[in-house]
Assembly symmetry: C2
Homo-oligomer: 274 residues x 2
C-alpha cells in the first residue's frame, strides 16, 4: 500500500482527520499510571491508543520526548509504535535533516528500526536531506513549512517576492513525484495557512498548534479542506493524552478525541452547505 492509500484508509477507518500526538512526558502522567518503568510508560501509551483509535487516523510520536528518557527511550518508543494498528498512519516526528548519507541513516532508524510510515523532515539543507525519506513509495515525509511557534517569523516569513515558507512549499510540490510528501503548517499561522494550501492544493497537510498553542480550528479546517482536494490531519497532543489526570484518563482521552474528530467534521459539513 502506498502512502496516499495508507492515509486515505486511515481517514476512512477512523471517520475523520484527527492526529493524536503521543508526547510522552513523565512529569504529566496521570496519577494512576505514575511509575516510570519502560513497560509502564508503554502501558500508558497503549491505553491512550486503544481508547482513541476509533476516532484517530494518525498517531504522531515526537521523538524528543522519548530521547529525553535516555537509555530506555528506544524501547519505549518502539513498544508504543507496536501498539498502533496497521491501518492507522504512524508519524515519527523528529524533524530530521542532514546530508544524504546521514539522512539515509535517519530514514533507516525511523522506517526500518522503528516501523513508522512517515517522518517529519526539516528542509533547510535542501533536496538531498529529504530524498532518503521519500525514495520508497510505502514511506514518506511531512516537511516543515510554516511552523506554529513564535520563532517561525525569524526566517520562515522572510523573503521577497516569495517568503521562505512559500519557496519551500513550491519546491516540495516539485519533489512529490511519488505522492508521499506532505507539508506541516501551524494552526497558529492564520494569515498564511490558506496560502500554503493554494501552493499545494493536493498535498496532505499536517496541522499542529490547535489547543495549547492557540490555533483556531475552524480557520485551519475551512482554509485547507473546504474546496480543496488535499486533506489535512489536525494534530492534538496534550489536549487529548492529558485530558484527565485521574483514573478516567483513558475515557477522557477517548472523549476528547471523539469531540475533536467530530468538531472537524462539523466544520466541513457547515462549509459544504454554504
Amino acid at each position: 500500500m502506498n502512502i496516499k492509500q495508507k492515509i486515505e484508509t486511515a481517514v476512512k477507518e477512523s471517520g475523520g482527520y484527527l492526529c493524536v500526538g503521543l508526547d510522552l512526558n513523565i512529569k504529566r502522567l496521570p496519577e494512576p499510571v505514575k511509575g516510570d518503568t519502560p513497560d509502564e510508560l508503554i502501558g500508558f501509551n497503549r491505553s491512550i491508543i486503544e481508547s482513541t483509535v476509533d476516532f484517530t487516523a494518525a498517531y504522531k510520536l515526537n521523538l524528543a520526548f522519548y530521547e529525553a528518557l535516555g537509555e530506555i527511550g528506544f524501547y519505549v518508543l518502539k513498544g508504543s509504535i507496536d501498539c498502533i494498528p496497521k491501518d492507522r498512519l504512524i508519524i515519527a516526528d523528529g524533524k530530521r535533516g542532514d546530508i544524504g548519507s546521514s539522512a539515509a541513516k535517519y530514514a533507516e532508524a525511523i522506517f526500518d528500526k522503528l516501523g513508522a510510515d512517515m517522518a517529519t523532515v526539516n528542509p533547510y539543507m535542501g533536496y538531498d536531506a529529504v530524498e532518503p525519506f521519500i525514495s520508497r513509495k510505502d514511506k514518506g515525509a511531512f516537511i516543515l513549512t510554516l511552523t506554529s511557534n513564535p520563532g517561525a517569523s525569524d526566517f520562515q516569513l522572510q523573503g521577497e517576492p516569495q517568503m521562505l515558507f512559500e519557496s519551500i512549499a513550491s519546491k516540495v510540490v516539485e519533489w512529490n513525484v511519488s505522492d508521499n510528501i506532505g507539508l506541516i503548517v501551524g494552526a497558529t499561522q492564520q494569515d498564511y495557512i490558506a496560502r500554503v494550501r493554494s501552493i499545494a492544493p493536493e498535498l496532505p497537510l499536517l496541522i499542529p498548534g490547535i489547543g495549547a498553542q492557540g490555533g483556531d480550528l475552524e480557520r485551519a479546517v475551512s482554509g485547507t479542506m473546504v474546496e480543496w482536494d488535499g486533506i489535512s490531519l489536525i494534530n492534538s497532543s496534550r489536549g487529548i493524552i492529558y485530558a484527565s489526570s485521574g483514573k478516567d484518563f483513558a475515557e477522557a482521552a477517548a472523549s476528547a478525541a471523539k469531540k475533536l474528530r467530530d468538531s472537524i467534521n462539523q466544520i466541513l459539513k457547515k462549509y459544504e452547505q454554504k
Copy 2:
C-alpha cells in the same frame, strides 16, 4: 568552565583545530574489529579516540549513525562519549530543531543524558528552537548556517539583498550573549565561507566537508582564521576513522589525525608570515 574556555582549552591541549567525526558505520568497520555487539562498537570508538586524542580538540558524533543501530544505539553512543577525555570538546551532531518545549527535551537528552558539551541545531524554526541549547553557559550550540551538501543551494543561497545563510549568521551573532554559539559552514562553500566569517568575526566555526566531500582545506583555514579572532574547528570523519581497514586502523587514524592537525597549523603559519 564555560564553553568558550572549554574550546580554548581543547585547542591548546591538542595543539590545533582538528575535530574528528565519529560516524560509526558498521559496514565500514576495519576487518580486525568486525563484530557488532555494543561493546565491540564502543571498543572501536575507544581505539580511535585513544589513538587520536593527542591531535584532536573536538569529537563530533553524528547521531544518525547511532540511531540507525536501533535499540543498542543509545548505549553505544553514551559509551563512546564516556571514552572522550573531559578536556576535549564533545559535539552531539543531531541537527535538532523544534518548538521550545520539544527543543528543551532534546537539550535534556543531549546535555544531561548523553553528557555532550554542544549540540548542532537547525535554525529553521527560529529563536525558541535554539534557546534551550544556549541557556546554560557550560553548554552550547553550533547552528547550521551554510551546509556542505548539494541541496544547500535550494534555500540557503536564496534571498536578496541578504541570502538566507547571511540572515541566519547575523541573527545568531545577536543571540550569542553567553559566548556559547558557533556556526556550521561547509568547506565546500568556497565562495561564501569568508562571508560567514566577516558577519561573525568572533564566533567559533565548525567546518565539515574536507576530504570525502571535496572541500578545500587551505581556503577554509585561510578564509576563516587568518586575520580573524574567531577559531575554526576543521572536521574530518571518514578520512580519519577509516584511514585503514587493516590491523593498523588505530595507528592509521592517529597518523591521519596528526597530519591534518599539522596541515592546518602549517597553513596558518604560512599566511601569518605573509
